[in-house]
Every structure is written in structure tokens, then in C-alpha cells.
């Protein structure tokens, strides 16, 4: 007997049956079968597998019975038991003993305890309710507390997610359905369970019914008038019990005998042929609504739960609905078994404790309102999925009813769980596991890695749950994008854990619920932390490994002509090449020249990484172009930095370069003109007839020099340097790559618009181009003037020289014909001078009129710095004196905005 040999459970059970009933094996066959069935049903134990808890419970039990000495004795025995290692399942044995224990002070009752049966029917491992998670009910509680907890777990099974509200709230729940309650609590009127339970016990109750807690039930409110019992019954009238039975079926959406689904009214209706008093008919039709609600919810879950494309969020929504339905079924099953018990015992025995429609009405009040909410939710969520669904559920949580809010909150926490899962996977690993397109970050698989940052990922606006703000969503998008960018473009294989130390968080559903309740705080913090770390890491990688900032500076130095000595030298070297027609240029020649320029100037000290990207590019040649028109510097970008310097950006850079290059060339040309004037001034002094023309030239040249200098000043200092400074500040302060890209785009935009390259200032640009053309034309005109003048000068000198030579030889210096010839030539030359003058005059006139137009346009421009440029160009009001329009517009401007001056 004492050896714990391994007999099969069935053999043991059989001997147990014999032992307890005191009968032979054959006689107990029936009981044995029952025992095997119960044991074999193999439902999960609903209690904590914790020896300590069970032993504490036993102690509490003993203390309750005022047996302190026994409690001490028990602890002693328990300690002894713990020293032995024979038993493996000590808790199990202890629990068995506890559940079989009986208070010796109470009359023994070994009959009619349905608690165990109920415990089977309702395994109390309720998982749908947060309340249960935090407070296992097998924890030893005081009686009052415990029964309350039990009532919360069983009585309110239809309304499980209410959490604490039900516990203390005035909710009328069927207290009598306390399953598993030890009998003494029912009889113990003085227990802290409260007088409610006590006075509700029928005074006349026989001990047996008092000990079977299921049959005793507290009345809810004043005792129901028992007129119903004495009311004379009409012929053929349906009894209330039958109706109750029907209603219980209807609750589950099954047609009853009398109450049936009416297809045309779409509701449950009592058969009109049935004879029934009005109040009952009324009550039952009110109850029957539950069936309709149940059907609605059920239909939704049934339709969706097999639909894979409905997505994870949808699935979890269905699951949460299922949980609620399960709680509802649980309540129904309790009611059913109650009905069963009544049937067995006969309704007549205790008429006050039977199920009546009225009681059902009260008990079903809460489940009904919950089902209503669920039905409304189901209606509202029709056709939605993913984040949209979560938004829909969330919007339902904004109600004043705390119970409904708790219910919706609970559903929401389940529904948003997959979303939060997506979110964490995305911001910590950069992975998008969104097969059903439910997450608010969308990925376009067709986009190649070079456009990854700009085009690959986008926000699905409709899928952003309403509890996540747009700002947060954008950050989330950015975080994951950064991680993917690091992986795919930068080929940075740093494990995500190193980037964000916070990524080791556990993403349990509880976590989700917490985050939802405290979205502002913890969630925001998490996102912010991840955002900050990831972006910082990305910028570090870009700056350290890919020299982003150096490239930015290189752009400024080379494409925006920041490196003056290099550009000047390049222009010197290129000049002979570029005056040739564009078609005769060859890229390799120019590349060679570029190399030379780099080697000869400070550019040689630049990073090799940058210099090797510098290249020459020839624009498309149109007929008549010279090399100046098609030449352009180029800067090759690839890999990660191409994300900042996109193709459009480079296009903009090239346009700006082209403009700057042209302006620079004007400066260069004017320098040449000035040089020519200086060199030739002395030589040509001997030709007084030229002085007028030369003077004209000098005036025009200095006018142009002034213009170009002011233009250059404006471009260099007011446009380039200012914008650059702004860009640099922004880049230094940038928190993520998007900031840098935005700052850079802004930089380019402002340069383009202020260099008159955008559409708005097209007319200004054409004027400017015309001015440039005039400068070129002037150069050629002056060149030809000097050429002919110098030629003439040389001839005259030659003539003088010859004359001198002959005089030295003792001959006549000049013959008459010679002199005549000389005179004729000089005359001819002098005849050309007025032609030159007029040509110059035309040029000057043309130039000035263009400048005046340009000034008028500048005056009327909206950009302040352009207006200031016009002041600077016309500082002595030289043009204003000639152009009435300038005066007018200036005056108007003076009048309009005095603050500008």
C-alpha cells in the first residue's frame, strides 16, 4: 500500500470507487465509468501549480475556522513533507486534500455539490480579461473577497473584460452562480460577503437546498412578487419555464419552439399563434434581441476568420470578438445548467429561485449592452482592415461609459497588437512583414536601391491608426527607412541592436495595452529614442565613410566656382580651346587640361576621393556654338551620397555652373579688354585722330566693368555665400538625412531662383544674356579697332623709318607720289574712324538701352536683394537720368515702400 508503484490510473480509479462506495467492482461499474470520463476529459487544470499558494490557502482556511493551532500543526507537517522527496506533485495532493476538506463545525454535506461540475464546465482560465492576468483567482483571498472574485469570473462571464469595474460596481450579476464555492459560504450569513447574499437566502430553505448553492440565489432588488405562481393559467398558454428554455436557445441564435427568427422583420419574434400574456411576450421579445445581436457578431467573425486576406489585424479583431462571444457562451452554459438542475429537482420545490424571464432580463442587461457595442463595432468595421480597422475601434473607445470603454480598450489592445508588432519589427530591424498591407508603411518592390530613400517607402495614410499621430508615423517611416538605407545602400552591416540600445524591449500584448493607454509618454519616448539613435548613426556613417560634408563643400568649390585660383587657371588654360567651334572639341583634351589645372593650383591638396569625381562634360552642341557655350564641369556622384545629390540636383548644379561660368567669362573678357586698353593707350597717343574713339571705348568698357563687378558681387556674396551659410548651419543641426536633403534642396532652389534661372525671372535672364552678348560684341569691335589702328600705326612708323633711312642716305626723304600715297592712306584710315565711332555709338546705345531695361525689370522685381542690386548698378543715377520709366518706377517704389530705403 505504501509503495507508490505505477499502476494504471484506471485500476487505481476502480479501487478508489470500490473503496468509497464500499461496493464490489461490478456494482460500481457505473460510477467507475463516470469517474474515468471526468478524469479522462483532460481539461487543463485551472489552478496555479504552485505548492506555496495551495499551502497558504490551506492555512487561511484553517485560520478562518479559528483553528490557529491546527494551522501551526499544518505548517509543521508541510515542512516535514517538503523534506521528503518521494512526491513529485506535492501541490496536487495538497490541492486535492484542500478541495475535499470540510469544516468540522458545519454539518457534513456530501451531496449536491455542483461546484466541481461547474468547475468543469467553466474552466476559469479566462484569457480575454486583463483582470485575470494580473490576479489569478486561485490566490488565497478572504471569503468575501474570494466570492466576489469568483462572481466576477463566473457571474459576469458575458462581460469579462470589465476588469475591476464589475468587482465593486453595483452590477446586478447572478451571485448564486458561484461555482466551486465551498458550501459553508452559502450558509455563512455572517461572512463578509455582505448582507445581500444573506438576506436573499430563502428563509424556508431546507438545509439541503441551502447547501447546494446553485439553487439558492439572491434576489436582485425587492423579491419578485409571487403572483405569477398563483396566477390562473389560461388554456394552452405557454409556461414561463418553456419560454425561458426557448430564450436560452435564442440567445445562441438558434430558433426556439415559440420564438423564431422572422425573416421579413429580421428579428426574433414569438409565434403569433402562441397564447401568451402581454408582459411575457414583451419581456421575451426584449430578451430575444440578444439573439439577433449575437447572430450579427457571429456572422461577421464566421465570415472573416477563414479569410486569409483579411490580415493579421482583422484576424485579431475576430479573435477578440470570439473571446467576447466565448464569455457570453459561458454565461449561457451556466444558465443552461441552472435550468437542468431545476428540471431535475422540480420547479415547484423552490419557486422563488427559478429562472424567470424577469431575472434573465436583469442578468442579461450587461451582456446585452456589450453585445450591442460589439454589433455596432462590427457594423462600423465592415470593409475595413489593418490600421484602418484599429482606427475604427479606437474611435469607439471615446465614450463616457467606463465599462464600454474598457471593453473597447481591450479589443483595441488585441487589435493593435499586430500593428505594434509590425512597428517594432520595422523600427528595430527595418523589416516589413506586412503580407496583407495592413501597416501604415508601404514598400514599393519595383524601386531600385538608388531611389530607395526617396521612392521606395511611403506612408499609407488610411492605415495610420488614429492613436498614432502623423508626426509619429512619419518618424516611424524614417526610422525603418534609415535602417534599410544603411543595409542596402551603405552596406553597413551593424546589427540593429547596436544602433538602438532600446530595441531589446519585449513586445507582449500587455506591453501593447500599456502603450495604448499611455501613448503620449512611453510610446513617444520609444519612437523618439529609436529615431534619434538611428538617424544619428546614419548621419555618422554618411559623414565618416562617405564624406557627405566634404562632397557638399566640393560642390561649392568646383561647381559653384568657390575655388577662385583653380577656376581662373582653368579658364586661362581653356581659353584657346574654347574659342574654337564646339564641334571641334574633344573631351579627352579638356580632361587633360582639367588635370593640369588641378595640379597647378591649390585644388591639388584636396581629397583624392573628391578630385577623381571631378570631370569635364560637354553639353549638347547646337550649330554655331563655340566651346564656351558647351563646356561644363561635372561631378560624379554614386552610392549613398547620390541620395542627397540626386539627378535633378546635379542638373540644377550644372545649370548654375553654366550661368556662373558665363558670368565669370564676362569678367575675364573685360579684364582682357582693359588690358588691351592699357597696353595700347601709350602707343596710340601718336594718333590724335583716334583719341575720340578710344575715349568712347574706355567709357563703355568701364560701364561694363562696373556692371559686371556689381553682378559678380551680387552673385558671390548675396546669393552663394548667404545660401551656403544657411545650408551649412542647417546641415550641422540636421537630425536626420531628410533634414539634410531638404536643406540642400532649399539651397539649390534659392540659388536657382536668385541667379535668375527659374521661370519667374526668365525675362531678366534674357536681358542679362543680351548684356553679356554686347560685351562679347564690344570685345570683338574693340579688337578690330585696335587691330586696324595698330596696323596703321605700324605702317606710319614704317613710312617714317623709310623716310629717315633715305635722308640718312642723302636722298630725298619722300617723293611726291610717295607722300601723296601716304596721305591718301592716312585719309582712308581717318575715313574709317567715323565709321568706327558710329559703330561704337550704336553699340553703346544698344548696350545702355538693354541695361536700362534690365534695371526696370530689377526695379519691379519682388525680390528685395534684386532691387538693391539695381541701386548698386545705378548708384549715380546715370541710367535714371536717361530713362523716364526708371524714374517713374523708382518714384513709385519710393512712395510705396519707404521702409526699403
Amino acid at each position: 500500500m505504501a509503495t507508490l508503484d505505477q499502476k494504471s490510473p484506471n485500476v487505481l480509479l476502480q479501487s478508489l470507487c470500490c473503496r468509497i462506495t464500499g461496493k464490489s467492482e461490478a456494482e460500481v461499474a457505473h460510477q467507475f465509468q463516470y469517474a474515468v470520463r471526468v478524469i479522462g476529459s483532460n481539461y487543463a487544470p485551472t489552478i496555479e501549480r504552485d505548492e506555496f499558494l495551495v499551502s497558504e490557502k490551506i492555512k487561511k482556511e484553517l485560520l478562518k475556522q479559528r483553528r490557529e493551532a491546527d494551522a501551526a500543526l499544518f505548517s509543521e507537517l508541510h515542512r516535514k513533507l517538503q523534506t521528503q522527496s518521494v512526491l513529485k506533485h506535492r501541490w496536487s495532493v495538497l490541492y486535492l486534500l484542500l478541495s475535499l476538506s470540510e469544516d468540522p463545525r458545519k454539518p457534513s454535506s456530501r451531496v449536491g455539490n455542483y461546484g466541481a461540475l461547474f468547475a468543469q464546465a467553466l474552466p476559469r482560465d479566462a484569457h480575454s480579461t486583463p483582470f485575470y492576468c494580473t490576479r489569478p483567482q486561485s490566490l488565497a483571498l478572504g471569503y468575501g473577497e474570494r466570492s466576489a472574485a469568483l462572481s466576477a469570473s463566473v457571474g459576469t462571464s458575458g462581460i469579462s473584460s470589465l476588469g475591476v469595474y464589475t468587482l465593486n460596481g453595483p452590477t446586478a450579476t447572478p451571485q448564486s452562480l458561484l461555482a466551486g464555492q465551498p458550501p459553508q459560504s452559502a450558509a455563512g450569513g455572517g461572512q463578509p460577503l455582505g448582507s445581500r447574499l444573506a438576506w436573499a437566502l430563502p428563509v424556508s430553505c431546507s438545509p439541503s437546498s441551502a447547501l447546494a448553492p446553485l439553487t439558492t440565489r439572491p434576489a436582485l432588488g425587492p423579491p419578485v412578487p409571487s403572483s405569477r405562481v398563483v396566477r390562473p393559467r389560461r388554456d394552452g398558454e405557454v409556461s414561463e419555464a418553456a419560454l425561458v428554455r426557448d430564450i436560452l436557445y435564442v440567445f445562441q441564435g438558434i430558433d426556439g419552439k415559440f420564438i423564431k427568427m422572422s425573416a421579413q422583420d429580421n428579428c426574433y419574434k414569438i409565434d403569433s399563434k402562441v397564447v401568451l400574456c402581454k408582459s411575457l411576450r414583451d419581456t421575451s421579445s426584449r430578451l430575444a434581441e440578444l439573439g439577433w445581436l449575437h447572430n450579427k457578431v457571429r456572422k461577421y467573425t464566421d465570415a472573416r476568420s477563414l479569410d486569409r486576406a483579411f490580415g493579421l489585424v482583422g484576424q485579431s479583431f475576430c479573435a477578440s470578438l470570439h473571446q467576447e462571444l466565448k464569455e457570453y457562451y459561458r454565461l449561457l452554459s451556466v444558465l443552461h445548467s441552472q435550468l437542468q438542475v431545476e428540471d431535475e429537482q422540480g420547479v415547484i420545490v423552490c419557486s422563488e429561485s427559478t429562472l424567470t424571464l424577469r431575472r434573465l432580463l436583469v442578468w442579461m442587461y450587461d451582456p446585452k449592452s456589450r453585445l450591442k457595442t460589439l454589433a455596432a463595432l462590427v457594423d462600423f468595421c465592415q470593409g475595413r482592415k489593418g490600421g484602418e480597422l484599429a482606427s475604427a475601434v479606437h474611435s469607439y473607445g471615446k465614450t463616457g461609459d467606463p465599462q464600454m470603454r474598457a471593453l473597447v480598450q481591450h479589443i483595441l489592445s488585441l487589435v493593435s497588437h499586430p500593428i505594434l508588432n509590425f512597428l517594432y519589427r520595422w523600427i528595430y530591424d527595418g523589416e516589413l512583414e506586412d503580407t496583407y498591407h495592413e501597416f501604415f508603411v508601404a514598400s514599393d518592390p519595383n524601386v531600385k536601391t538608388d531611389r530607395l530613400w526617396h521612392d521606395k517607402y511611403s506612408l499609407r495614410k488610411s492605415m495610420i491608426p488614429s492613436f498614432i499621430t502623423m508626426d509619429q508615423a512619419r518618424k516611424v517611416l524614417l526610422i525603418g527607412k534609415s535602417i534599410n538605407f544603411l543595409h542596402q545602400v551603405c552596406h553597413d552591416r551593424t546589427p540593429p541592436g547596436k544602433i538602438t540600445p532600446a530595441s531589446k524591449s519585449a513586445d507582449t500584448p500587455k506591453d501593447a495595452a500599456e502603450l495604448l493607454s499611455d501613448l503620449e509618454g512611453a510610446f513617444q519616448e520609444k519612437i523618439d529614442a529609436a529615431y534619434f539613435d538611428t538617424s544619428k548613426y546614419l548621419l555618422d556613417v554618411l559623414n565618416r565613410n562617405y564624406l557627405l560634408l566634404e562632397h557638399l563643400q566640393a560642390m561649392r568649390r568646383y561647381l559653384l566656382l568657390g575655388q577662385g585660383d583653380f577656376i581662373r587657371h582653368l579658364m586661362d588654360l581653356l581659353k584657346p580651346e574654347l574659342v574654337r567651334p564646339a564641334t571641334t572639341l574633344y573631351q579627352h583634351n579638356l580632361t587633360g587640361i582639367l588635370e593640369t589645372a588641378v595640379r597647378a593650383t591649390n585644388a591639388q591638396y584636396d581629397n583624392a576621393e573628391i578630385l577623381k569625381r571631378l570631370d569635364v562634360r560637354l553639353l549638347e552642341v547646337s550649330p554655331g556654338d563655340t566651346g564656351w557655350d558647351v563646356f561644363s564641369l561635372d561631378y560624379h556622384v554614386d552610392g549613398p551620397i547620390a541620395t542627397v545629390f540626386t539627378r535633378e540636383c546635379m542638373g540644377h548644379y550644372l545649370r548654375v555652373f553654366n550661368f556662373l561660368w558665363r558670368a565669370k567669362r564676362m569678367e575675364y573678357t573685360l579684364t582682357d579688354i582693359w588690358k588691351g586698353q592699357m597696353c595700347n593707350a601709350k602707343l596710340l597717343k601718336t594718333m590724335p585722330e583716334l583719341s575720340g574713339v578710344l575715349h568712347q571705348c574706355h567709357i563703355l568698357a568701364s560701364e561694363m566693368v562696373h556692371f559686371i563687378h556689381q553682378m559678380q558681387y551680387y552673385i558671390t556674396f548675396e546669393v552663394l555665400e548667404c545660401s551656403w551659410d544657411e545650408l551649412w548651419n542647417r546641415v550641422q543641426q540636421a537630425q536626420d538625412l531628410d533634414h539634410i536633403i531638404a536643406a540642400h534642396d532649399m539651397f539649390l532652389d534659392s540659388i536657382i531662383s536668385r541667379c535668375l534661372l527659374d521661370n519667374n525671372s526668365r525675362s531678366l535672364l534674357t536681358q542679362l544674356r543680351a548684356i553679356f552678348d554686347q560685351i562679347i560684341e564690344f570685345q570683338s569691335a574693340q579688337d578690330s579697332l585696335y587691330r586696324s589702328a595698330l596696323e596703321e600705326l605700324a605702317l606710319r612708323l614704317q613710312f617714317e623709318e623709310k623716310k629717315q633711312q633715305r635722308e640718312d642716305e642723302g636722298q630725298w626723304g619722300v617723293t611726291a607720289e610717295q607722300e601723296a600715297e601716304e596721305k591718301k592712306r592716312i585719309q582712308e584710315f581717318q575715313d574709317t574712324i567715323p565709321k568706327m565711332r558710329s559703330q561704337l555709338r550704336i553699340l553703346t546705345h544698344f548696350y545702355q538701352s538693354i541695361v536700362q531695361q534690365f534695371l526696370v525689370l530689377l526695379m519691379t522685381s519682388t525680390d528685395e536683394s534684386l532691387r538693391f542690386l539695381s541701386f548698386r548698378l545705378d548708384f549715380n543715377e546715370h541710367y535714371r537720368a536717361r530713362e523716364p520709366r526708371l524714374r517713374a518706377s523708382l518714384g513709385a517704389n519710393w512712395g510705396r515702400r519707404p521702409s526699403n530705403i
Binding site: L4, L16, I58, L81, S92, Y95, L96, R110
Partner: protein, 73 residues
């Protein structure tokens, strides 16, 4: 070997004594033999909740049986 078996037997006996004592304290109404059967069942991992339900049911059944016998007698 024999001594080991002996100590094991002793341990088992002691355990059973302790359990019987606890059972008495808690007034479970189990005698030594039923208790030992129960313990063995528990050790095989049977759900104690179910087992207690079965025992209560059996008691009730035997009660009613006895009552009916009394009636017939």
C-alpha cells in the same frame, strides 16, 4: 541496495503519515487506503480538481444508494 530500498520505503511511509495527518486536519474524510490511491493518482499527473470532483460525486452516489437501500429496507 537493500538499505536504499529500505530508506526509500521509510521515506514513503513517513510521507504517507504526514499526508494522513494533514488529511485528518482538513477533515477530508479519506482513509489511509483511499488517500494512498489518491496520492498515486496525483503523482501520475491527474488533475486534482477533477479527482476531487469524482470523489465528491462518488460519495454522493453512495449516499443516495444507501438512502434508497434504507428506504427499501
Amino acid at each position: 541496495m537493500a538499505s536504499a530500498a529500505n530508506t526509500n520505503l521509510n521515506a514513503v511511509r513517513e510521507t504517507m503519515d504526514v499526508l494522513l495527518e494533514i488529511s485528518r486536519l482538513l477533515n477530508t474524510g479519506l482513509d489511509m487506503e483511499s488517500l494512498s490511491i489518491c496520492v498515486r493518482l496525483c503523482e501520475q499527473g491527474i488533475n486534482p480538481e477533477a479527482l476531487s470532483a469524482v470523489i465528491k460525486e462518488l460519495r454522493k452516489a453512495s449516499e443516495t444508494l444507501k438512502a434508497s437501500e434504507n428506504c427499501t429496507n
